[in-house]
């Protein structure tokens, strides 16, 4: 009889400490040995993980009110500007905002990491002053314990697959995919591939709005589809997109996070960004879930893109599997090219394992999405037009 399980049944097993939980790596071998149906009977939850640079990351912060109060118009945290065009003492600090004194060496990502680490951060603000909020400037220090709310709200994380970056030009390129050596000197890739959340749930059956997740060491949630969500991207026969496709907007409490699973970064001559650790559990509702989640690196393909062409649409050198990328060398146009990851596979493993332990110990329950993502939407470019042309 075909396996069918509900979220309630799986959560009841978790509550009783009887749930069988494996990682998205472990399920590959189980399915190879026992087949999809048997694996679906045996396993209740499959955990995924990823740890890569995700620029679209930032934190909402409420500072509390000073005396006399201020309606902050401009805000700096350790000299990094934060957006304060909200109510009086709310602000949003984005990972890629650069320090006005240190430039690329320190940015919003570093502020967020320092806050999570419990460090003190200098807060400076200016305001125009009003009857409700007479104060016009403030300089003080904050840390995560002095703040009211501090939560990450990341508009685009956990990309479902990503391109491989190469450089066919004669000069070195400094990109968000790392340093690209000239004349196809290297090929940089960025995905947890067989461990990556959305690669294991390619049509977003179980990952949707409201899904409870592991976010940087804390329990967080999928808040919305991520920006640039592109479900209509080309897919392989197994349903896995062969270029960047789905994305997730994530939310979670900064105060509960752990710097082991989130880290500020600088890409040389590009800017600051943030390594974000994300883990998502996949409930085994039926055999189809297991079949999709048992995809391995040899069956996950991505596209090799030439980053030396500074245009929206870049030429590509065809498709390649993650098994080949992870071998350390690939062939492009007859040339042997060194490959290197920029997302940490060892951290991805650690996250999938940590989430597995949470579920096994009954500390983490599965949340059915309150709404699933639409597969119909398209990803639109920005055209430069006049008001008459639009």
């Amino acid at each position: 009889m075909a396996v069918k399980k509900t979220y309630e049944e799986i959560n009841e097993k978790i509550r009783r400490g009887e749930a069988v939980v494996v990682t998205a790596e472990e399920i590959i071998d189980i399915v190879n040995e026992e087949g999809v149906e048997k694996a679906a009977q045996k396993v209740d939850v499959i955990t995924t993980g990823t740890f890569g640079p995700m620029c679209s990351t930032g934190a909402f912060i409420n500072f509390g009110h000073s005396d006399p109060p201020i309606k902050m118009t401009k805000v700096w945290l350790n000299d990094v500007p934060a957006y304060a065009g909200l109510a009086a003492v709310d602000a949003y600090i984005g990972a890629t905002e650069l320090s006005e004194t240190q430039g690329m060496a320190y940015g919003g990502a570093h502020v967020i990491e320092d806050l999570i680490a419990g460090k003190n951060v200098k807060l400076e603000s200016e305001a125009y002053g009003s009857d409700c909020y007479p104060r016009k400037e403030i300089v003080t220090y904050i840390n995560k314990n002095t703040l009211n709310e501090a939560y990450l709200f990341n508009p685009r994380n956990a990309y479902q697959n990503y391109a491989v970056a190469v450089n066919s030009s004669a000069r070195m390129l400094y990109t968000y995919m790392g340093t690209l050596l000239p004349k196809l000197g290297n090929a940089m890739y960025c995905s947890a591939s067989q461990l990556s959340p959305l690669i294991n749930d390619p049509f977003y059956r179980t990952i949707g709005i409201g899904t409870r997740i592991f976010l940087a060491g804390a329990q967080g949630y999928v808040a919305w589809q991520g920006t640039q969500f592109n479900p209509q991207q080309a897919r392989g026969e197994n349903g896995v997109p062969t270029s960047p496709a789905g994305t997730l907007a994530l939310i979670g409490n900064l105060k509960d996070m752990n710097t082991e699973f989130i880290r500020a970064a600088t890409f040389h001559n590009y800017g600051t960004t943030m390594f974000v650790g994300v883990g998502i559990p996949i409930p085994v509702l039926d055999a189809d879930v297991v079949e999709k989640a048992s995809v391995g690196d040899k069956d996950i393909y991505t596209t090799i893109v030439d980053y030396s062409v500074p245009q929206r649409s870049k030429p590509n050198f065809g498709k390649i599997s993650y098994a080949e990328l992870r071998s350390g060398k690939i062939e492009i146009n007859g040339k042997q090219v060194r490959t290197a990851p920029i997302s940490s596979y060892s951290k991805a493993r650690k996250i999938a394992a940590a989430l597995k332990e949470w579920v096994r110990q009954g500390k983490f329950f599965l949340q059915q999405p309150v709404e699933n993502f639409s597969l119909d939407q398209t990803f639109k470019p920005l055209e430069i037009v006049t008001e008459e042309e639009i």
Binding site: T179, M188, A265, I342, Y345, S346, K347
Partner: protein, 134 residues
Amino acid sequence: MAKKKFVLHFPEESVEKPVTYHLVKDYNLIPNILRAQIDENEGTLVMDLQGSAEQIDKGIAFLKDQGVGIQEAIQDLAINRDRCVDCGSCTGVCKPGALAIGPDDWKLDFDLDKCIFCELCINTCPTRAIKVQF
């Protein structure tokens, strides 16, 4: 037999001296050039010198006589394991393969013997975990 790695700095006036020839001929050393670079100011050569410890010392003394600056200062690359997240970005620019990552544990390995001190990894490291150690 000993093997030591040196960074040689050639000021403009020394660039044309055939020092490598003398290291082989007069001191019986086996130089292995790992990296060579010449710009408008000076030439830089990173090389392994293999031979008896005594002959290496004599060879180095000879180089100093020739006005060649000897930098034995770079001892190692220091990888701050607390900052490193094992992403692997640095391995993409490490041509000699001194920095490597891969199966089975996907943790960064560093092999000093293979390092040619090109220092490309220093700025490539997104978490600034790699430093030259003097």
